[in-house]
């Protein structure tokens, strides 16, 4: 159907074809150009050069004295110097680069005095940290989502009421309410309760990240249940009968016979689900998890370069989702040839 239409419309003339390709680029450049022009007319000043510091920056290290003391000794230590300061507590050694301090042996220091100031090593910027958190959360939630989804899907197609009805209830509740609300419930209702219980038992409370991961994986899991159910449904019932009539248990039959065959139909919709998961993780900023979107927002409050940072943010999400869909396409091709 699709290919027929494109066959009819296919431009047979090569010149017309390349003109059309050129047209595409013209449209793109025109669009970007006009957006850029519009921003200039409202006096937005683009400062792309500021963006890299949100990914990587050289940290400035400043060391202050915190007691009254005396510089006892300054001695070289490799290409740096050891500055040893004695106070009534004993000796404190600071290892700092050459030229980063302005002290001599015998100088006195009092609290708040500058001891040394120098450029430290490279540090990951806010956006990098945010990107890392988004990746980490998406990865863990994907794994948990697959796990929940497969278990739920197998329960969903079983004829045992406990399993089947539990799975149906789970899917319907989760699919029937907004993810944002579920994240709020996970953090403010469940999170508060669980953390209080942990505290009462003298245990450390859990990070918001974990509640975010729980909300995302439970949400994704519900959709995976339906995907797995459809995949299992596409397998001929004779497969189950052949397996069960040999004496395999329901779960052996699912794990060894049905799921491996269902994987082929499950993979493409699963990819879409996990791409959604990456994008949905942007909601976790609402419960003070500094994932990419939240990091971008915070970056903007300090830099005021809203346009650049939001565009960077979108590009980063695009990169993640694109990489994921490439990986899944590779997997699809591998399972298809098998």
């Amino acid at each position: 159907m699709n290919s027929k239409i494109s066959n009819i419309q296919r431009l047979s003339n090569p010149t017309a074809h390349s003109l059309s390709v050129a047209g595409f680029f013209a449209v793109m450049i025109l669009l970007i150009g006009s957006v850029y022009y519009a921003t200039i007319t409202v006096d937005y000043i683009w400062r792309w050069y500021k963006v890299p510091t949100y990914f990587m920056y050289k940290e400035t290290v400043i060391i202050y004295a915190d007691s009254n003391g005396e510089v006892k000794e300054i001695k070289p230590n490799g290409d740096k110097f050891d500055v040893i300061i004695t106070d009534d507590q004993g000796d404190i050694t600071y290892t700092v680069p050459k030229d980063s301090f302005d002290l001599d042996e015998g100088d006195f220091t009092s609290p708040g005095d500058l001891i040394a100031e120098y450029e430290g090593g490279w540090k990951p910027g806010m956006m990098t940290v945010g990107l890392w958190i988004t990746l980490k959360i998406s990865f863990i939630s994907t794994i948990l989502g697959i796990f929940i989804g497969i278990l739920g899907g197998v329960a969903r197609v079983s004829s045992t009421p406990v399993l089947k009805w539990t799975a149906i209830t789970y899917v319907e509740i989760i699919r029937g309410s907004p993810l944002l609300v579920q994240i709020m419930i996970a953090y403010f209702v469940l999170g508060t309760t669980i953390n209080k219980i942990l505290m009462m038992n003298g245990l450390p409370s859990l990070d918001p990240e974990w509640y975010g991961i729980a909300a995302l994986s439970v949400f994704t899991g519900a959709y995976v249940v339906e995907i797995v159910r459809a995949g299992i449904g596409a397998i001929h019932s004779g497969q189950v009968e052949a397996a069960r009539s040999g004496g395999m248990t329901y779960f052996q039959c699912m794990y060894y016979i049905i799921l491996p065959q269902a994987l082929k139909t499950i993979l493409p919709p699963l990819a879409g689900q996990f791409i959604n998961l990456i994008k949905d993780s942007s909601l976790l900023g609402m419960i003070s998890i500094r994932e990419l979107t939240k990091a971008t927002r915070e970056g903007i409050t300090t830099s005021l370069q809203a346009f650049e940072l939001w565009i960077m943010c979108a590009i980063l999400y695009l990169l993640m989702t694109f990489t994921l869909s490439m990986c899944i396409q590779y997997l699809e091709r591998r399972t298809a040839t098998k």
């Binding site: 001929h236 004779g238 009968e241 052949a242 397996a243 009539s245 098998k338």
Partner: protein, 243 residues
């Protein structure tokens, strides 16, 4: 060996069908029973009740004295002793032939890799496709696939074999090779219940023929009695139609 006592089975979806109505039968060890009857007469349903692929709503089936409809019965244990062969082969397409014949041995019988592969090769040899052990089901002809399916069931060392029209989906030239395997089994003393339209097979190896119609056993007896001198008009009519 199998004692079927007054079973009833009704399907309600898509519409009400009385598939089995008060069916009773006793199948002795070593017996070869052939079930025949017109389409929709309940033959498959009867066979599938024997290993509880269908559950009867009334009545009892005892397999070696075990009531298989009793919820306390571990049905997987009973099924492990009963091999089943289907019209549509139902080989596992994601596994090789060897994989098909070893997986149940592994999961249910918990045999070691060496034992189960030795067993599989011996049985594939017997059904004449040892050379295809590493092929995939889709590369085999229908007759070969059905022989693998029989091998898969036999690898479990079952006490009973159930066949549901094993040759109906085959091209005519392949029916013989599958029937030959079944005949060999019958002569070796395997207890068999076969739903089939192969009258030649019934005449040659059956100890008893059961004729079903509209969910009931209309007539049963030795092949000689059944084919040459049936009691019921319904049976005579059926035989006239097919022979």
């Amino acid at each position: 060996m199998i004692d079927v006592k007054n079973i009833y089975k009704t399907f309600f979806v898509p519409h009400e069908v009385k598939a089995l109505v008060d069916v009773s039968n006793k199948i002795e060890a070593g017996e070869v029973v052939v079930v025949i009857g017109p389409s929709g007469s309940g033959k498959s349903t009867f066979l599938r009740c024997l290993n509880r692929l269908e559950t009867a709503e009334h009545g009892q089936i005892l397999v070696d004295g075990v009531d298989i409809f009793d919820p306390k019965t571990d049905i997987n244990k009973v099924r492990a002793e009963m091999g089943m062969v289907f019209q549509s082969f139902n080989l596992f397409p994601h596994l090789s032939i060897l994989g098909n014949v070893t997986i149940t041995q592994k999961l249910v019988r918990k045999r070691s890799k060496r034992d189960r592969e030795k067993k599989a090769m011996a049985i594939l040899e017997k059904v004449g496709i040892a050379d295809k052990a590493h092929a995939h089901p889709s590369n085999l002809s229908g007759g070969q696939q059905q022989r693998v399916a029989i091998a898969r069931a036999l690898a479990m060392d079952p006490k009973i074999m159930l066949f549901d029209e094993p040759t109906s989906a085959l091209d005519p030239e392949m029916i013989g090779e599958v029937l030959d395997v079944m005949k060999t089994l019958a002569r070796e003393g395997m207890t068999m219940v076969c739903v089939t339209h192969e009258m030649g097979f019934a005449k040659e190896v059956a100890d008893r023929v059961i004729f079903m119609d509209e969910g009931k056993i209309v007539e049963e007896g030795t092949p000689v009695h059944f084919f040459e001198n049936p009691d019921h008009d319904r049976t005579k009519l059926f035989l006239k139609q097919i022979l």
